[in-house]
Structure formats: structure tokens, C-alpha cells
């Protein structure tokens, strides 16, 4: 199964051009929906207004080299490892899901655009990437959704209670799960089941990429921006009006250790 390119098998039923058109349609849906979301929430306007305010109260004027350095550090330390989630299971689950999704989507695009038919031999590394990416997405996503969601962990709601905020994570999990099941049934010769999972895979993709306006999908664009702005504000001394790091005398001692938020 892991060396199976499900898209080359699909090319007998659907032409590669149609598959490539579907990918472009999904990219278009994400772009348009994110722009609509920005216009509706006015969050980018708020973000730039806030950045202007921060610039006014800056204590140090950063050079372009310093700004670039801060941005690069943020990308490597904060964004690439989702540092805002602190140390713990949520961060591990998020990193698994994030990299799993990136690998899964990248491999999907490469498979569809470069190796869409059975006539072209697909490198095993690429199909392994596609399957491993989907598995990582499932591992991180189900772990988060079943155990680590704040609704379950801190608010004591049952895991099966679904709310609008679950649209993104559930659609993403459906994509990865149905994708894997489609590949497995296709490679095992279970034709009817493979068609069923193919339909479910397409439907979950449509919900995931078509539902950007109503889901949390766009957080993957906003969060890096917010992290960069936060670190730039720390570097230029404006610190979003936060107090400076404490020059603590020794007698202050150790504070209490932060515990998991589940004392409901």
C-alpha cells in the first residue's frame, strides 16, 4: 500500500488534467475564502494598526538586518516548532499534524502534477511521503481531537461533542483518513470500497478547502504573522505595553510550576 500511487490508478477513471484542475480549484478556494475572511474579520487591518502603534512606542529603532534576524529566529524557533504551545503534548500533537499535513499536501501536488498516470513510474520515496504524511496528520489530529482539545481537557465536555470550531480539524482528519483508506482498498483490489473512499476523500477535500471562511483553516496564515509581530515588539522595546523581563532579586525564589489545565 505504501508504495502505491493512488492517483495513477485513478487516471484510468479521471483524466490527469481534471485532477490537476481540482488541485488548482482548491488553491483558488483557499485564496478567495481567506481574503473574504480578512475582509469580514478586519483582522489584518487591526494587525497593521497595532503594528503602527507599536512602532510609535518603540524604544529602539531596528535596522533592517536586525528585523530580518528577528523574523528568521521567529520562523526557526516559534513558527517551525509552534513554540507558543509551550512544552507538552499539545505542541507534539500540533507539530505532528502540521508537518504531516505539509508533507501530505506537498506529496499530493507532486504526485498529481508529475506522476499522474500509470505509464510514468512513481518514485517510492514520493508515495511513502504521501502515506507517512497522512499517517502523521491522523496521529497528531486524533490525539488532539480525542484527548487534548481544550473542550475535553479543561471544560470537561465529552470527546464526541462536535462544535463549529471542529470543522477544520475534522475535515483535515477526514481527508487523511479517507485518503489512506482509498489507497489501501485500491492497492488491495477492493474496487467498490475504493470508489466509496475516493468519493469520501473528494468530499472531505471540498469541505476542508471550501469551508475556509467558516473554519479555522486560515489560522495557518495568521499565526505566523502574529508571532513575528510579537517578537519584533519585544526587540524594539515596545513589547505591546508588556512590562520588561523582571530583574528578580534572589529572595523571590521559584514560582509554582504550571500544571495542566484540568482542575475543573
Amino acid at each position: 500500500m505504501i508504495t502505491n500511487n493512488p492517483f495513477s490508478g485513478l487516471s484510468e477513471l479521471i483524466s490527469p488534467v481534471a485532477m490537476q484542475g481540482f488541485v488548482l480549484l482548491m488553491i483558488g478556494l483557499v485564496t478567495i475564502s481567506t481574503l473574504l475572511d480578512i475582509m469580514h474579520k478586519k483582522n489584518v487591518k487591526y494587525f497593521f494598526d497595532n503594528a503602527k502603534k507599536a512602532k510609535k512606542s518603540a524604544k529602539i529603532k531596528l535596522t533592517s538586518t536586525q528585523r530580518t534576524s528577528v523574523i528568521l529566529k521567529t520562523v526557526v524557533h516559534d513558527i517551525a516548532t509552534t513554540a507558543e504551545l509551550g512544552r507538552g503534548k499539545r505542541r507534539v500533537a500540533h507539530v505532528l499534524g502540521m508537518y504531516g499535513t505539509i508533507i501530505f499536501w506537498t506529496a499530493s501536488v507532486l504526485l498529481i502534477f508529475s506522476f499522474p498516470t500509470a505509464g510514468i513510474k512513481t518514485p517510492a520515496s514520493l508515495t511513502i511521503m504521501w502515506h507517512v504524511g497522512a499517517m502523521m496528520t491522523c496521529l497528531g489530529g486524533y490525539w488532539f481531537w480525542l484527548f487534548l482539545r481544550v473542550d475535553v481537557l479543561a471544560e470537561a465536555h465529552p470527546w464526541y461533542r462536535i462544535i463549529k470550531a471542529d470543522l477544520f480539524v475534522l475535515a483535515l482528519l477526514a481527508c487523511a483518513t479517507f485518503g489512506l483508506l482509498w489507497s489501501y482498498t485500491q492497492s488491495s483490489g477492493m474496487i467498490e470500497l475504493s470508489y466509496l473512499f475516493l468519493i469520501l476523500f473528494i468530499a472531505s477535500n471540498l469541505i476542508l478547502f471550501g469551508g475556509v471562511y467558516w473554519s479555522k483553516f486560515a489560522h495557518m496564515f495568521y499565526k505566523p504573522g502574529a508571532a513575528i509581530q510579537k517578537n519584533l515588539a519585544e526587540a524594539d522595546g515596545s513589547r505591546d505595553n508588556l512590562p520588561p523581563l523582571a530583574d528578580a532579586p534572589k529572595q523571590f525564589g521559584l514560582g509554582i510550576k504550571r500544571e495542566q489545565p484540568k482542575h475543573y
Partner: protein, 156 residues
Amino acid sequence: MSTFVYMTRCDGCGHCVDICPSDIMHIDETIRRAVNIEPNFCWECYSCVKACPNHAIDVRGYADFAPMGHSVRVRREEEKGTISWKIKFRNGKEKDFVSPITTKPWGKFIPKLAEEASPNHGEINSQRLYTEPNGLNIEGDLPTISKDTFKKGVYY
């Protein structure tokens, strides 16, 4: 001044939900971020402001002076055991304060009542509170005052 949440900063970790003594910090059902559902019931204890690891919760100033650019923000550094406040006045004046964290660990000073035996009728009708006299850290019984020593006409 009640609290509010910056949605771009919040990551929905639930620390504020966990700590709020008024149970008004909840998770929004659309975007899964924290929200103060009832600012009027906020005790203004700022437990949530201090507990937030992302500085995503802030103090909402009163409407008459908030637009003039004041700010009340806090930074909690557990490894140093400090809690720092920065007060920015509407005239631009700034003041910084640093204090030790005095929060007690979860459960240490809170009796686990569910594990205790149910009180009997006498204990229910007693004037004593649950932890008395042991909780007062005194030797022997509670001090008593004889009614004979009371000044007549004052207490009855």
C-alpha cells in the same frame, strides 16, 4: 475593570478556563479561543490575565478613559517567581512593578471534601466551621468567653 481576550494571541490552552473563580472564562464554540462570557460578573481578580502563557488576556479599561491610550499589562515569569505589572497612564506616564508570585499550588490548601466522611447532625448544627479548630493552628479547643463577662444591655 473586567478582562478580555486577544483572539490572535490565544491558542485555546484552557489555563484561564481552569483558574477563573467565577467560571466566566469559556472556550468560544466557533473558533476555540478563550472568551470572557460575562464581563459583568468578573471579580477583577486577574487570575486569568496572570495565568495566560501567551499574554493573550488583557484588562479592559473603562470606556471614559480607555480610548486615551492607557494600558494595564502583566508578565508572569514562573522560573523567577515574579509577576510584573506595567501601568501606562493616559498622559503617557509609565510605572513598572515587580512582585513575587504568591499563588499556592493546586489542591495544597484546599481540602478534598469528596474524600472526607459526611458530617453528622451535630457537626452540621455546630457553630464551628469545617476546618476548626485544627485549621486555625491553635492548641486545644477554641477559646470561649463566658456570658457572665458580657456587659449587660449591650449584647441582648
